[in-house]
């Protein structure tokens, strides 16, 4: 522990463990949050950060461990209980009521009442005052669905500020904010620190650590890998704590730069409401990392390449032949496979067996004169079960939802291999996947590239790019801002390109995430 002498933590967490199904994601985490102090929590995707903070917010229950508040053991059994104790979480995903007004959302769950009816003037007064502390001037009566993403994030932050919060947890709050909004948020965090609040600040960005935090804690594979004062921790030591053994994977990938083969997929001047004039080419044996943060248009571009959303303009050629891709069915016919970043919402056939999930795009080929049984699907599943090392039954007869995230993702990938897709467009392929499965997925994708597939990895996770890309394209606000050759790819170069682009291109941010309509 690195507690200054005499300081007593406001929130003391000891030995927190948490499993999902057979997978333990937190293996005994200790953490102290001091009053009047900002602690930065870092870690790679899948390190357990989000699980950990959701336990602190009362959203998840730990399997073991205890939480003390001011030295008194507390049971954070619900979100309401945690709020009551002064712990507030600003979650990464926006969870507002889109059709309700800004004021109603700021005070969601705490609407002031008079004689049993909502006291609208009081509600607006409180909401306005709270938003003003954030330096935000939003239309109180407008539905939040009419706001920009960054403004909705401000509403989320404002909601956490209502009432007395002694402990504020921010889960990557700046991802969707403009620079000015970020500066105002930092000013607010500093003010709350002066007022004695204990603040936990989760981020991916090392520059933010130096700017805002007093202490830095790094989680890796569900354990605390570093706990130090910011003044005592060098940037390389933080990165090493975050990346740990997976550094080895990274070097492994360097030797395998295959000579780029013929172009499998070429796109020229693609445009949509979310991106503009984007051109890219993917050759056989290439893994193109398409890197961009929220609002960059990267996931939207991936969806458009697959025909899941409409293009406004541009040309696409597959293996040199011009094609029109108006639907996923057409993309599949041209040998393109696709993973959505929203695996549960747009990938899994939740109630169906594993083998059926894998076989779905190939039913037409597996069927004999329109007839197909579960047996044919199980036969199709078996080779992929072995090659992708899926931890399931060999016949894939259990429901897909009983598998862990990493194994689900392998099945989603196997789906397109069984469909004999040559071109794979993969959005956030390692999202919600534990560290071991992540390394396996990287290995599988590198092998596929070596066998002549052309792969586009559309991601906001720089590790996906540094670990396997043979070329990187960085996008900011719907435009390509940099193209990096394999030897130029690094965490620093990616972050810099994405950050520099953000300042150079004052194009309005695209609204919302990518949404694929169901019809």
């Amino acid at each position: 522990m690195t507690l200054p002498d005499g300081a007593r933590p406001f929130l003391a967490v000891r030995g927190i463990r948490k499993s999902f199904g057979p997978v333990e994601v937190l293996h005994g985490v200790d953490l102290d949050l001091l009053p009047g102090s900002v602690t930065a929590l870092l870690g790679e995707n899948g390190a357990g950060k989000s699980t950990f903070v959701r336990i602190l917010a009362g959203d998840y229950q730990p399997d073991a461990g205890k939480v003390e508040l001011d030295g008194v053991p507390v049971h954070l059994r619900t979100v309401a209980r945690a709020r009551e104790l002064g712990i507030r979480l600003i979650a990464q995903e926006i969870a507002d009521a889109p059709t309700l007004s800004v004021a109603e959302n700021v005070l969601l769950g705490a609407w002031p009442l008079r004689a049993g009816f909502v006291d609208r003037p009081a509600m607006h007064r409180t909401a306005r005052a709270t938003l003003e502390t954030l330096g935000a001037n939003l239309p109180l009566g407008a539905p939040v669905s009419s706001l920009r993403l960054g403004e909705r994030q401000i509403v989320e932050i404002a909601r956490a500020m209502v009432g007395s919060s002694r402990c504020l947890i921010l889960d990557e709050p700046t991802a969707a904010l403009s620079d000015a909004e970020t500066q105002r948020l930092f000013a607010l965090v500093r003010r709350m620190r002066e007022q004695g609040a204990a603040i936990l600040y989760i981020t991916h960005r090392l520059d933010e650590v130096a700017t805002i935090a007093d202490r830095v804690v790094v989680l890796r594979d569900g354990r605390v890998a570093l706990d130090a004062l910011v003044a005592d921790a060098s940037q390389p030591s933080i990165v090493e704590a975050m990346v740990g053994r997976s550094l080895a994977i990274r070097h492994d990938s360097i030797h395998a730069a295959p000579p780029p083969g013929r172009d499998l997929l070429q796109a020229q001047g693609l445009s949509s409401p979310d991106f503009e004039d984007v051109s890219l080419a993917v050759g056989a044996g290439e893994i193109v990392g398409l890197y961009g943060k929220v609002g960059s248009g990267v996931p939207e571009l991936a969806a458009a390449l697959f025909g899941a959303t409409a293009l406004k303009g541009g040309r696409i050629a597959v293996e040199g032949r011009p094609v029109t891709i108006k639907s996923p069915a057409e993309a599949i016919r041209h040998g393109i496979g696709y993973l959505s970043g929203d695996r549960a919402g747009e990938g899994l056939l939740g109630a169906r067996p594993v083998a059926e999930n894998l076989a779905a795009p190939s039913w037409g080929r597996l069927a004999r004169r329109g007839w197909i049984g579960a047996a044919a699907e199980r036969r199709a599943y078996l080779p992929w079960y072995g090659r992708l090392r899926v931890r399931s039954r060999p016949d894939g007869a259990e429901r897909i939802t009983t598998l862990s995230g990493g194994n689900q993702q392998k099945v989603m990938l196997g789906r397109w291999l069984e469909a004999r897709s040559r071109i794979l467009v993969l959005t956030e392929p390692t999202r919600g996947v534990d560290v071991g499965a992540r390394a396996e997925i990287y290995q599988v994708l590198r092998d596929l590239a070596r066998q002549g597939h052309g792969i586009v990895v559309a991601t906001s996770d720089y590790e996906d790019v540094t670990a396997m890309a043979t070329r990187a394209i960085v996008m900011v606000r719907g435009r390509i801002v940099a193209t990096l050759a394999q030897d130029e790819i690094s965490t620093a170069s990616l972050t810099q390109a994405a950050g520099a682009g953000a300042l150079d291109h004052a194009v309005p941010v695209a609204k919302g995430g990518v949404h694929v309509p169901s019809h």
Binding site: S340, L349, R352, E356, G370, H519
Partner: protein, 318 residues
């Protein structure tokens, strides 16, 4: 293999229909004690015959609900089809009128399918609308009279083991639909769409076309159900098929098809039909008023679905 190391508890291994079979057996035991006539062959033929129209329609209802859709227009559709037959028969002759009536069923299904997949109206609202429209049309065109049909009694003939054709049609439709659901690409896509329509589209499934076809299938069964009804009763009126949509939905849900879509079997639906059919038959044999049978059926539905919720909670806590 890592996952097969531990044997799952019995309720995870038992097929989902086990609870339904237990329920049905329980009913059979109780009623066979209550009435000596209950277990006779003639009585079981009665039960099956009484279920035949609802059973034919429930096959389509199962396919639709697996795909996450509803068809509430089946009851009034049956009445309208029977009316078309009864009114056309004197002018066109029975064979042509039969074809026209069946076509009417297909058109009702295609209309529902068009409204749901092309216009984009929710299936519940669409078929609630067509339910009212075709009931209203039947009553205004038919004028509330009882229209008799002569020479159209094929459904009550008993070709084998004293089982009427109507019941045989019910069995045949169930078997064919079960095979289609389990063994064809069309059946697979129905399950996939119900499990996750967006994901289904992203694996190349033509979701709208498939849903349209499912409504047309339901329409074909409405046509068949209307012909069965006209033949069984030898007449038709404004109240023909009243409440059939509820009997169908009850059986399908009782049979374990999830309201969320993606799961369900024809076997389950047939068990659901039998549970309701046996209950009302048994209560009748025990001289319990038919109004009380409604109370019993409603209670049964809620009990069965609560039981299923409990089972799901038990199987998911792992």
């Amino acid at each position: 293999m890592p996952t097969s190391a531990r044997r799952p508890p019995f309720w995870r291994r038992a097929p989902e229909s086990a609870a339904l079979v237990t329920f049905l057996l329980l009913e059979i035991v109780v009623f066979s004690l209550g009435s000596p006539y209950f277990l006779s062959w003639a009585n079981w033929v009665n039960i099956l015959t009484a279920l035949s129209i609802a059973g034919v329609l429930a096959a389509g209802g199962t396919v639709l609900l697996i795909a996450g859709q509803f068809d509430l227009s089946v009851g009034s559709g049956v009445a309208f089809v029977a009316l078309v037959l009864a009114m056309a028969a004197p002018a066109l002759g029975l064979p042509t009128a039969t074809g026209l009536a069946f076509l009417t069923g297909l058109v009702i299904g295609a209309l529902n399918g068009f409204l749901v997949t092309v216009v984009g109206v929710n299936a519940l609202i669409t078929t609630l609308g067509t339910l009212a429209i075709f009931r209203g049309l039947t009553q205004s065109i038919g004028g509330g009279r009882n229209i008799a049909l002569t020479g159209f009694d094929w459904a009550i003939a008993r070709p084998v083991l004293h089982v009427p054709v109507a019941a045989l049609v019910f069995v045949a439709v169930s078997v064919v639909t079960a095979v289609v659901l389990n063994r064809t690409v069309f059946g697979r896509t129905i399950y996939a769409i119900g499990a996750n329509a967006t994901a289904a589209r992203l694996v190349g499934i033509p979701t709208r076309r498939t849903i349209f076809l499912a409504f047309v299938l339901s329409g074909a069964l409405i046509g068949l159900g209307g012909l069965l009804s006209a033949s069984q009763l030898g007449s038709t009126s404004g109240t023909t098929g009243l409440g059939l949509e509820l009997a169908v939905v009850t059986a399908v849900i009782l049979g374990g098809t999830s309201l969320k879509g993606g799961t369900g079997t024809i076997l389950g639906t047939v068990l659901g039909l039998l549970i309701v059919g046996v209950l009302s038959n048994g209560l009748t044999l025990m001289n319990i008023n038919s109004t009380w049978q409604q109370v019993a059926t409603g209670t049964l539905l809620i009990l069965a679905v609560s039981f299923d919720q409990l089972r799901q909670r038990l199987t998911q806590t792992r």
